[in-house]
Amino acid sequence: MTGTKKEHMKIPKIEKGIVIDHIPAGRALLVAQALGLDRVEQNGSVTLGLNFESRKMGKKDLIKVEHLELANQELEKIALLAPGSSVKSITDFTVKEHIEIKPPDIVEGLLTCHNPRCITNRERDVETRFIKVKERPLSMKCQYCERIYLESELRLR
């Protein structure tokens, strides 16, 4: 039995909503938090699958959310926190659309710079700006202090 079939046994299909698959293992909680899925007022049910076996990735995480549509900024968040993930829009229990996610070349105001001496952490009202250095594996550079952050080090503001 393939990993995919096993996981469907563990997580039931949803009628309508979003499936975020192939999330690098250990990242689903970060993604869920970034999308605000941890809030009680969230409309439909949220199912998190952690540490599933994956032929492609070894281990992966998975999120299914009922009645959710994602705006561009939320797709950017997924692309930054969980690059390589696949996002599918579901209607009537079937995949209606594969939504392509790609880390943007320039990210403004979304990421945080961990350098306490960076001007973005020192001066009031300064938005962060990160420039994509490399897509795979993802690395982003703070345009102000010029620190380069690897995929696992990226955090939202």
Binding site: R117, I119, T120, S139
Partner: protein
């Protein structure tokens, strides 16, 4: 000297610096760096009278949020040599910063009074932010532990004057490689040139940071790491000494452990190549013995002199009075 190569598809317009900011050596490509060095070389041949005619009535705002004697004075000298005037402050104390004014607001205001701004600031990235606030060119004279591009350009100018070329240089860089912004800028700049080999010498606690190592790996620059000058002295064409900077240490005890770890003296220089030169961004404390000053190896005071020439070139270029 590094004259512009002919027969290449580099237009003068593409190389124009008029109105541009000088924030980070990482923003510059090799042609731009060579262009600056070649303008500096040209200026060095000019008489004082000729220089004075370049920027009369132009005003430089020298904004130094932390103390720096050398950089501040050399910018002041450079602008004065070009016939211009200088306004500004030499520490945050007594300036509007103490009243809580943001850097953004200070720059917006000062850019109304001046043709070019030179900024030294303790926070990383301050110069980039200032360039966004300003409508006149901003030159970064050091932002925290991040960049110090004009120091780097004068270092490159010095290496080129010493060995007639930068390509193929083997350079030893000694001291505070963790916090030293001169080191970070210099390594980034050198990694743009071909066949450079870098030999880093530092105590474990002051090793070159990971993000700089990543940059070097990405540019396929050859480098090695050491803890003693003896391990590299025979190999290098340039020995770049740096001060262990007390002010950058979060813990005073950590500074005490390493403050006098390196001391370059005549005995250490016995194994050096004959043409090898010692550079230092200055000020020096104890890392170079005074005995070295009188030898053929010492180049650090001439290097400081080169700073005025390179800064004249940069000021002239960004103000559009030099091309």
């Amino acid at each position: 000297m590094g004259k512009m190569k002919t027969g290449r598809s580099v237009t003068m317009e593409a190389l124009s610096f008029k109105g541009k900011d000088i924030i980070s050596i990482n923003d510059m490509n090799l042609d731009e760096i060579r262009n600056i060095l070649s303008v500096a070389d040209r200026l060095e041949q000019k008489s004082r009278e000729e220089l004075m005619a370049y920027a009369p009535s132009k005003i430089l705002a020298n904004l130094f949020y932390e103390p720096s004697t050398r950089t501040r004075l050399s910018f002041e000298a450079a602008m004065t040599f070009l016939g211009g005037r200088v306004i500004g402050f030499s520490s945050a104390e007594g300036s509007s910063v103490q009243k809580g004014e943001s850097l953004w607001d200070t720059i917006c205001t000062v850019s109304q009074y001046s043709d070019v701004i030179v900024l030294r600031h303790p926070d990383d990235g301050a110069a980039r932010l200032a360039s966004e606030a300003s409508h006149v060119p901003v030159i970064n004279a050091g932002d925290g532990s991040n960049q110090h591009p004009t120091q780097t350009l004068l270092d490159l100018y010095s290496i080129q004057k010493i060995h007639s070329t930068i390509e193929g240089t083997s350079i030893g860089i000694v001291g505070d490689l963790k916090y030293g912004r001169t080191v970070h800028s210099l390594t980034s700049a050198l990694s743009k040139f071909k066949s450079i080999s870098m030999h880093f010498v530092s105590p474990q606690s002051l090793r070159i940071p990971m993000h700089i190592e990543r940059e070097l790996k990405e540019s396929s620059t050859v480098y090695s790491e050491h803890e003693r000058i003896e391990e590299i002295i025979e190999k290098v064409d340039i020995l770049y000494m740096t001060r262990i900077q007390q002010e950058r240490f979060p813990e005073p005890a950590e500074y005490e452990k390493v403050k006098e770890i390196y001391h370059l003296d005549l005995a250490l220089l016995e194994k050096a190549k004959r043409h090898m030169k010692v550079l230092h961004p200055l000020p020096r404390v104890t890392e170079i013995s005074r005995d070295v000053d009188g030898t053929e190896y010492a180049y650090y005071f001439r290097q400081a002199g080169n700073g005025v020439i390179v800064r004249q070139a940069l000021l002239g270029l960004v103000m559009g009075v030099l091309h």
